[in-house]
Amino acid sequence: MKKSQNIGKLTPAFAVLLFLIFWECLCRILKLQNYVLPAPSRIFTVLWEKRVLLTMHTSYTLYEAVIGLFLSCVFGVLAALVMYRFRMVERALSPLIVISQTVPIIALAPLVMVWFGIGIGPKIGIVVLVCFFPIAVSTLSGFKSTDPAMIHLLRTMGAKSGRIFIDVSLPSAAPQIFTGVRMAATYSVMGAVIGEWLGAKSGLGIFMTRAISSHRADMLFASVFIVVLISLILYGITVTMEQIFLPWKKIKSSI
């Protein structure tokens, strides 16, 4: 029983390993050039050789992504709160929010640069632009899923609105808030990279553009690898936070 569970957990790792081996073989058999498709071994070599430079660039990107994600959480939850509390605001804002999501960020980003320069601020702004929406929307639907009978129950016990919000609405919405944050976490690093593409002094995005212009596909893949890695780490952190803040959900899934 225990053994088969462990094997189940390892299956994805095996799949990834198999994929890497296949990739490596492909490159060696077809004798692909580095600028066409570098083999995994080559990518890991580059990762090691450029570790100092990559660490520096990664720290910028990670900083932008984390700050942007944090601000998105704050603004997203606040916006959802206002929309939940005042139906008028929701009716007025929801079409705007949906439209804002159909605007391609990549088209908007250069403008942001024009407005705010090429410092770190506009990158954070783009991360917020990408991450705000999933958090606000799922938080709002979380608030709306509050059981009205539960609210009545507390009201008959003499609870005030503030109490009801803290004891009922917020915990009811919490699982969906975390769903939104989890989605946003996976977008956040990408948002920062897109911001950097369009002009920056440091960051993985600028590292990528340099790698492309000097036909260094191995360096490009190395930075892609890091983007994937830190996105996964951020995702993992949100999952862990959810388990800490919503302990009852863990039990639910284990039953």
């Binding site: 507390l154 008959t156 016990m157 003499g158 609870a159 009922v168 915990p171 039990i251 039953i255």
Partner: protein, 247 residues
Amino acid sequence: MLLIDGLCKTYENYGNSGRLEVLDHIDMKAETGEFVSIIGPSGCGKSTIFNLLCGIEEKSEGIVTIDGCPAKPASFSYMQQRDLLMDWKRIWENISLPLKLRGVSKKDAKKIIEKQSELYGLSGFENAWPIELSGGMRQRAAFFRTMLSEGNIMLLDEPFASIDALNRERLQEWLMDVLSREKRTVLLVTHSVDEAIFLSDRVYVLTERPAKVKCCFDISFDRPRKRELLTAPEFNELKAALLSNLT
């Protein structure tokens, strides 16, 4: 004494037909400390009566008084049909909600609950999450919470509905035991004629919607009542009379 006089409820803007008349001049009374049951067809408006008493819904007409004064929602402790335990609070936190809202400190509340949880068959489960409990335990936890509410009149809406027959009988006896220690006025909604007669001092039978009081039975078996009562001839006579009014 609780007096309900000419209670009416009509839902306006209901579906396509416009309005739905649910309650049509309901008259009821419950002396202080009495156990009163309400029985009637499904969907006739039993839960609605409780919702009106608690102020969850606005009544359309009628007067409700307690000892001659207009009733306040705070005079009732309402146990709804669903247990309404909060998944995100541990059992003891769920139960202590009425205490917390009255300003009792966490520590004192926990002490009070640990002292009484034996009686409610919940000892050892104070720290569990609601989803870890069986349906019957959840009902008892909800009942415990209702008992801790200040309202002197308890409104119990099918508290044993989701429990199998065997445990149901056990819970009925347990409910009588709990109530004999702490005298309270109780209004109980139930589908079971046996349950109504076994537990009550008086049973009201309601008609199909719009609900009116069809008839009212006074039940004067001595207390404490034993299970054997269910097979006594007087019990069965009453039951037959009640059933004939129900259909």
